[in-house]
Symmetry: C2
Subunit: 140 residues, 2 copies
DNA sequence: CCAATTTGTAACATACACTGTTACTTAATT
DNA sequence: AATTAAGTAACAGTGTATGTTACAAATTGG
């Protein structure tokens, strides 16, 4: 459903930081392991910093490092930081016809459905920590 | 996450059919209540017919009607019919660097995460029937 | 059989979002 | 002061979605 890969990139970046020697990596190193452009990484870092998941440092020897231990960072936090709220499907782009009883309230009903599903996914993601991901990476 | 509104349109269309007088409506009538183009509706009808959720009829007096009672159609069936499998986030578009242990197995780990979340959403949607949606529409 | 109607389908237009890229500014270290 | 790296703006290229027109295929009723 989410067409973008920002969440995948973000988990990759944070895992790499968790596993790096001194805990810090710059955008060029991160871009290399993710296989993308450093600017794409820096844009991601801004969102992750905004969510208090990492800190950045300019200048020589700068880069990014985790703001908290990996066990205290959940996939739900990461997802929200880079992709906003959980949205499982697109809404009506045009307003449905109000003349029909379906058109009048379909959006409200679908919002309820989307909300329940989003809660379900959020719980699932909240139960998985970055440390869990790192552990799995090491066992592969 | 799903950027497209095919699921919303599909639920709308099927609800309208469930609530229609004689159980049948043509693509023009459906397009009017959804507020889109009849061809968009007909493309949707093809997928819903393929999934055995409705039947279509050409020629004068033709149109679409439900293939089963609304209580026997779940939102999970509708979702799969028009949007394919549940996919909660996009994967790496480019292959991550295999030199780093994160790059080597991040895709596998993320697949596992996506699978668990997808199961969770599917269960949620499977528990809601078209009849439930119609009931909510009538109470609004 | 003929005319009207409606689905089925191809082709294209338009809009939008996302990734990637270049180039430059700002800040921090030595 | 020079170097390094993040921050940021602007734009290119790609892909996907909705919407639209036009026509083919099938079905019904007279």
């Amino acid at each position: 459903m989410a067409q973008n890969c920002r969440f995948a990139f973000a988990v990759h970046v944070l895992s790499a930081l968790a596993l790096s020697e001194d805990g810090a990596m710059n955008s060029e190193q991160l871009a290399e392991t993710v296989n993308t452009n450093p600017v794409v990484i820096r844009r991601l870092l801004l969102d992750l910093r905004e969510a208090d998941l990492l800190v950045t440092q300019r200048g020589p020897g700068g880069g990014a490092k985790l703001a908290h231990p990996a066990a205290q960072i959940s996939l739900a936090q990461i997802f929200k930081a880079v992709s906003g709220e959980f949205q499982l499907f697109g809404e009506h782009p045009n307003e449905p016809a109000k003349a029909c009883c379906v058109g009048r309230s379909i959006k409200t009903v679908l919002e309820g459905v989307a909300h329940k599903a989003a809660q379900c996914v959020e719980q699932e993601y909240a139960a998985i920590s970055l440390a869990d991901v790192v552990k799995q990476l090491q066992n592969n």
